[in-house]
Structure formats: structure tokens, C-alpha cells
Symmetry: C2
Subunit: 222 residues, 2 copies
DNA sequence: CGCTGAATTGACGGACATCAAGATGTGTGG
DNA sequence: CCACACATCTTGATGTCCGTCAATTCAGCG
């Protein structure tokens, strides 16, 4: 149904620790920033979930594979976003850098230990999990819509993050978007051109989308 | 796309407190059992989430509506299952009794207060949320599969709960199943008969399914 | 028994996947 | 700086799965 991305291992370099600005967050100062190359794996499905992560720059995708090769992208994480918080002791999804990225890596046990007596941090973690739950629930609502609605919703979702301007920069490929929306790359592409032709958006480059008629997009996002 | 269920208000009686056996759980003895008629609402989307619930008998569905009338069933809850735990202050989904049901209702504040100093209960709540997150994530994987795979997965999922015998009793209608799987009632029905014809299952009644070839179903559940 | 909602079955069409070819963009080495 | 290679994206032609519309059967219940 959906084509899997080609094995990215060739492109992936090993992550190496870097020093940079620390984001303002409950996790700051508790961990080490690491650098990940495009398509480098941050962690794999079923690996022990010993760390929490926060995107400092770049972008990260999490995904799960169906054994016939289909891929479901679970989420995209942008600068500031925390990921890897999942429930049990192991990760439910794999995580990869979409582009060259800096990620703050924090020992889970350290966070949990501090959360024991710091009510704020504890609450923050809870909120995080809850928000993630909401996000995934929202996502499963998306998957019963038609292609037009899914793509419109996706664009608005991406626009809602980052600086809300008249344009969005998409860090991910059409294949990533397709696997996120449960469509094929061709359908995503066709829907984009259809939006362009109806004057809803304009493509500065294939990765940079200008909004021309946000109201119409919102209407599709039913 | 998907037909919404007819307004069930006519069938729904007001819940009335009942006395019965309390289930063995961290919530037992903290709340009052209530009785809900078939299709009666337990709570509505966007209502304050002041209570937690545990199914004692019967079955409950949670769902969300798209404004064009399509319905997405989020989850089915069977005896023993706890529901209504969602994140914020309001419910993200509505909950209805599928059949005549007894539900244990517990004040959320009471549970939370007790969780403050009872580490076990606190941990239990966390685990519950995490498991819910896993379930929803699993569910969004389901929605990218084809009809055959979705129905096979559903049957195995239902079989995995309750007593694992050679047959499952489905408390919910075809419409519920369809809205859970993101299919139409007709497609669900056709897939059932297709499974019957290929000898994977047998229908004792339309709601009672016997497994005839579990291996083949597992294969479909890729 | 007849009424009513639930489930099944059939005929048909449409939205999206698949297969295939081209166009565009990007990094690399000469 | 150009040219080649390769990945990404777009566009077209065709097929198919599943949704829609409609009729029939089945099960439960007064």
C-alpha cells in the first residue's frame, strides 16, 4: 500500500555530542545535546526507553513499521517539542532525524527521580503524556477523512506550530507526509497541485508553502 | 462517508444507582455503581471530566463526532476496564453504554487526592494512561490497513480480552464495529461473510463468532 | 404473527493506489 | 562552474477496493 523509505543507513552518521544553546524547558540543564545527521536513528522500536528527548533544532519523526513494509509516521517533532516519553520501558516507535538536528538527551531515570519531589515537573510530565494522547487521538480522526481533508488539516497543523506566518516551511519529504496521513506520495502531490490550482496555497519551493486562502483550508479541515 | 447512529435519546433511561458486587480493583469501594440502559450516555464530549469509571457488567463505547456526522469509535470497554481517565479537565470523547451495563463511578478528585500519598495508586493511574496511549497508537496503525486486515485484527483483539476460547461474543453492532475500524457497515458485513466462506470463522449468531482458523487470521493481522 | 431494527447481499461508481514516465532539484567530482 | 548522477517531486493512465444506494433476509419482541 505505502512504500517504505529506502534504507537510510548509508546517510546516517553516528550522533556526536555538541554544545549549543539550551532551550528554556524543565529538561534544560539535565542532559546533553547531541547532533544527528539527516535520517540518523535517535532510537529504535522496542529499544529500552532510557532517555527523554527535546528537539533543539531540525526536526524528528517517529514511526512504526508494518511487517509488509508499510510505514506509519506517528508524529513530527519540531524545535521545543519533547518526545520519547512513551509509557512502558520500551519505545513503541522508532525516531529519526528528518534533517540535521540537535537534540537534547536526558536520562529518564534522572527526570523521574526529580519528579518524585518536584510537583511541577511531575505535573509537566503528566501533561505531556496527556497531550500526546490527545494528539494521537486527533490523528486517528484524521485517518477516516478523505485525502483533501487530510492534507488541508496537515498544512494547518504545521502552520499552527512554528511562527504563524503566511507560509510554512516543511522539513519533511512528501513520503513522510504520505506515511503520516496514510496516503501515497502521489496523492499528496496531486492534492497539493489541486490546492495550488484552486488558489488555496502557492508553492514557493516544494517544501515551502504559502497560504492564499486559509478560510477555505479551514473549511476542508471539518 | 460513515452513517451516524440514529439519535439514541429515546432509548436511553436515566442512570440509577444500584448495589452489586464490586470488582477487585484500586477503584473499588471508592465509588458508587450505576446502571446504564442500552445507548444511554455516560458522559459527553467536552463535559468536565470529574469522574472515573469502571465497567462492572455490559460494555461501553467512547466516540467522537466529525461535524459532517461521521463518527469515530475510539474504544470499547469491557467488564474490568477503566475509562474516562483522559488528560485535561474535559472529556475528549463521549461515552455510551452499548448494552445494559453497570458502571462503577468514582470521583476523580478523590482518586487524585488518594494518589497523592499512595504511590501504588498513582503508578496505576500512570500505567492506565500509558496503556491507553498504546492502544490509541495501535489503533491508528489499524486505520492504514485494508478492510480484511482491519476486521481480522478486530476479531483477534476482541478475542484477546474476555475468556480466550474458540469463540467471541461481540456486544456491539456492526455499525459500532464499522465506526471503530473506519469502514462502512456493509464492508464489515461482507468481510465477515468472506471469512466464513474461506473457513476462517463461523457465525453462531451474527454477534457470536467462532474461530476456525486462527493462524490465517493472525497472518492477515500483519 | 406482523412489526421493527439489524444484518446481509447485490449492482454500481468513485476516490485513491498502482504503475510508469518525466521534470525538477541537489550534491559531488572533475 | 559545469556536468553528471541520483533523489525528490510531479503528472498521466489505468486498476481496484471500498463506499453508496437499494433491496432482501433475519432476529427479536410486543
Amino acid at each position: 500500500m505505502l512504500a517504505a523509505a529506502a534504507n537510510p543507513a548509508i546517510l546516517a552518521r553516528q550522533p556526536i555530542p555538541v554544545r549549543g544553546e539550551l532551550p528554556d524547558s524543565p529538561l534544560a540543564m539535565m542532559g546533553a545535546p547531541m547532533r544527528f545527521a539527516r535520517n540518523a536513528e535517535v532510537y529504535g522500536e522496542d529499544e529500552p526507553a532510557d532517555y527523554l528527548y527535546q528537539v533543539m533544532s531540525g526536526a524528528v519523526r517517529t514511526y512504526r513499521m508494518l511487517d509488509d513494509g508499510r510505514r506509519q509516521v506517528v508524529a513530527f517533532y519540531l524545535p521545543g517539542d519533547i518526545f520519547g516519553v512513551e509509557a512502558g520501558d520500551v519505545h513503541l516507535a522508532s525516531a529519526e532525524a528528518i534533517s540535521e538536528s540537535q537534540v537534547l538527551v536526558v536520562k529518564r531515570s534522572a527526570v523521574m527521580a526529580r519528579a518524585e519531589h518536584e510537583r511541577d515537573l511531575s505535573k509537566e510530565l503528566w501533561t505531556l503524556t496527556v497531550r500526546e494522547l490527545q494528539r494521537v487521538q486527533q490523528h486517528s480522526l484524521v485517518l477516516i477523512k478523505n485525502a483533501e481533508e487530510r492534507v488541508a488539516g496537515f498544512l494547518l497543523e504545521m502552520a499552527g506550530r512554528g511562527t504563524a506566518s503566511a507560509a510554512v516551511e516543511l522539513p519533511m519529504s512528501r513520503q513522510d507526509i504520505a506515511d503520516y496521513l496514510g496516503l501515497t506520495i502521489e496523492t499528496v502531490s496531486r492534492t497539493f497541485t489541486q490546492f495550488v490550482q484552486s488558489g488555496l496555497i502557492a508553492l514557493e519551493t516544494s517544501r515551502r508553502i504559502q497560504f492564499r486562502n486559509r478560510a477555505a483550508l479551514n473549511r476542508l479541515n471539518a
